[in-house]
Subunit: 507 residues, 2 copies
């Protein structure tokens, strides 16, 4: 098949976004794959525009949804055959100023070099694969300390996750795409400097933080670790961008928990206040309620300053509670499966409820259960990240998006899981346990979340299908559940100065 | 002279506040000193009320302004002669729930055991002596790292400060009062635990932070040091209070710089916002503009959480720029003299201007000079601290006071120093230098500061007398001025990742 035919075919199939190739500029490579069941290949490089590169693999039959970002763009190429990374870097430098909107435009040229800090974690791994699939060049930076936490706490993900090395190899085997890997700690600036200089990202996604509120409330040592790790790590990232890649867009994961539960509507990062006859738009007041959530508040303030003082471009994604385990990419093969935490330290509400339902454990509602938060499907997390990446903040801009799709109270979630359980023939009970946290259990909550929708987010809403799917995953791996890990293990009020140790089971 | 005569004399002289004794409860001691030129002494302890204790020294002839806090109060005593600390602790424990107001009441019973973190620093040292003079039992905790900064930067205070050991000994010699000293770093929790358990404070005053914005903007290493040192140190303090002295009132030094320069009035810590038809009182939005100022923002959020989650009592003193060098206590003897920083890193605006005027250096106004901030006399700093201490926050309360007395623009200050210089026969010139900071140079600024006045603060306003005095100090020590240290040495935009070193003079 010739280039012309291939290009023509791709154009006809754009609407379906069923394109099985990844675009990059300037080198002559073989293209092969399957579009709509039809095998494709070409070794003819176009004289202008882009050419396509993809290795043959049965991934294409399984999941042929690579978007042809390259085809619709207008990247100028040299026509010379040079090493891939060099070309990519050149493209980045030649590309016009940051595009501002995805909506209504072709986005073929928006291929990015994305470095994902924390790319081995729950959100990071799913995001890495999604971006790789969408044609972005991806590097994973991770110290793997999240895996160490599991060892130390005696917990494990419900799903059997593979090592990062095996995950990356499997993705290469299935997709032909390479994920660069840098194993190390972003609190170590020498390491971070090496990684950033080596990969030269145009986008850094920062998931690389300790992300559990209960973990941060276990003892003084872990509270201090959490704030040190998160705040200093982020400071290092800001300095690395300023010094080595000043054009790089930082996409930083915040949390909706930064806002707390004020008695007024929550806006996206900023609020316009009229006071004593004068008006200003100011950072939305923060009322975080754990040392973890506070670390994100600190990060947000540091980011805002770095953007103002140094002209950095940053997007703060104040994410809600993420649920679900599968994305199209992580479900391609069990080696790619994502983690699913259900324990009292790292498990989040809905995921934990589904696991509890699967093993016949009552759903553990903390206190009255009126605690209302924003939630989103992990398939929307990865899409939100991509939207933020391909529509970057402007230099000097500190932008805040509230990243969730629906609000639920804990009681709402319990009712939904109970209902879904009935459909699967599972009897689900609910137990109100003493709330280990310090938080309002009945409160007003109305948080805005329109900016990502304006950029093109089409949410997956929480419905029976999702619950079925999440419940089914829980049922599949029910024999891996450790019932001792389900109950809340950490009390906000009982946190002490002595390191909290875990008693070996049975001792 | 008998107790009755002495008491009578003291009462007659109350209006002049020329009292030469310090009150404490329950032990029989000799009293001697000079009031209004008359020698006083007594060894008779009263059966109720308080007795007085003071060692004989020429301090009384130099500065007989010890206020008789004890005399006006109503401390009940046992009449038994027991060790001083034991009695003090008993008094603290027997005292009624925290009093809420100084105004209109005798405050003799409000003797506190105050641990001052950073008690060797500019504000800390003056506060330690003031509180000791006022009859509080004082311990100083300090790592002395501020002195190391001077060594490393090649800077020194204009005034020749003595070692902490000599300072404390001199104070003991002059006043008879002991300042307990704990040398160590509050980031070292083991050290902090020892100090807190040993002293058992009912109040902790936390000045123990890296307090220079330029220092925090020198290089990545110092930015990271500042945020780590300040945030982790404060976390340790919060944990130490929760674990070892949960009733202890934390008086934490914040900064007016946490608020930035919003286009609306700045309130004291909180603002009531009506938004979309609903109303809530929320933390005032923060817009800090250096890694130092940001560290204080982080602290404030951590404090608010600790008060809410654990029921701690804390007062956040958002202090303005402090000027002046002498307090009645630090000027008693040159060994007690306070530091006066004029260098580009640790020097603050008004102090630096006075030194510049004294040595004939043009006043270095950064940029347009319209930067407006709150200022206060160091004699008001120590008084504000005492007011916050003797009127503590309630358990669970996170209280914020804006601690300054007047607002000035940098241009205002330059004009005032110029005018004061003329009176001393000094010709003062002003030079507008490039602003090394990133800040608005013309802006609205109206910050509330009524809460400390409501507690009884009677401000020293910036006038010719103060400028004369500050200018005279500068002239006295003018031969110690290093002209190379005067100009701004740190640029907000040029901060890099390489540690900034200081070139030895003349090399």
């Amino acid at each position: 098949m010739t280039w012309s035919n291939f290009e023509s075919l791709l154009r006809r199939n754009l609407a379906m976004a069923q394109v099985v190739a990844k675009a990059f500029a300037g080198s002559a490579v073989n293209v092969s794959g399957v579009v709509g069941g039809q095998s494709l290949s070409t070794s003819e490089a176009p004289k202008s525009g882009v050419c396509l590169g993809a290795s043959s693999s049965d991934i294409w039959r399984k999941c042929a949804i690579f978007v042809d970002s390259g085809l619709r763009g207008g990247v100028k190429t040299t026509g010379q055959s040079v090493a891939r990374r060099t070309i990519r870097a050149a493209v980045v430098k030649e590309s016009p100023a940051r595009p501002t909107s995805l909506v209504g435009e072709g986005n073929g040229s928006k291929k990015k070099k994305v470095m994902i800090l924390g790319g081995d974690g729950y959100c990071g791994w799913a995001t890495a694969l999604h971006l790789s699939k969408k044609g972005h060049e991806v590097a994973i930076v991770d110290s793997l300390v999240r895996r160490l936490f599991d060892e130390q706490l005696g917990t494990q993900t419900l799903t059997p996750i593979a090592s990062l090395q095996k995950r990356v190899k499997k993705w290469k085997d299935l997709s032909g795409e390479t994920l660069d890997v840098y194993i190390g700690d972003v609190c170590n600036f020498e390491f971070l400097e090496h990684a950033v200089k080596s990969f030269e990202p145009d986008t850094i996604v920062h998931f690389g933080e300790q992300r559990s509120a209960p973990y941060s409330m276990m003892d003084r040592d872990r509270a201090v670790f959490t704030q040190h790790n998160n705040v200093i790590g982020t400071l290092n990232v800001l300095f690395a961008i300023k010094e080595f890649v000043p054009e790089c867009h930082l996409v930083k994961l915040g949390t909706m928990g930064e806002y707390g539960t004020p008695n007024i509507d929550i806006e996206e990062g900023f609020i316009t206040i009229t006071h004593n006859g004068r008006t200003d738009t100011l950072p939305y007041p923060k009322q975080a309620s754990s040392f973890y959530h506070l670390s994100k508040v600190h990060d947000s303030h540091n980011l805002a300053f770095a953007c103002k003082a140094w002209g950095l471009a940053a997007t703060d994604l104040n994410q809600g509670v993420v649920y679900g385990v599968h994305t199209p990419e992580t479900s391609l093969d069990e080696v790619l499966i994502n983690r699913l935490d259900y324990d009292g330290v790292f498990g989040t509400a809905l995921n934990r409820f589904c696991v509890q339902a699967a093993v016949g454990h009552p759903l553990t509602v903390y206190g009255k259960g009126g605690q209302t938060r924003g939630y989103l499907d992990i398939r929307d997390t990865v899409r939100c990240l991509e939207l933020a990446i391909i529509n970057p903040a402007k230099p000097g801009e500190f932008r805040v998006f509230n990243q969730f799709t629906e609000q639920f109270s804990v009681n709402d979630l319990a009712a939904l899981v109970t209902k879904a359980g009935q459909k699967l023939g599972i009897e689900v009970k609910t137990a109100h346990v003493q709330n280990p946290r310090v938080e309002a259990e009945e409160h007003y909550y109305n948080a805005k979340h329109s900016k990502l929708v304006e950029l093109g987010l089409e949410p997956h809403y929480l419905g029976d299908a999702l619950l079925d799917s999440l419940l089914n995953v829980a049922v599949t791996y029910a024999d891996r559940v450790d019932n001792e890990q389900i109950l809340p293990a950490v009390s906000w009020k009982k946190i002490g100065t002595k390191p909290k140790t875990v008693k070996p089971s049975g001792l």
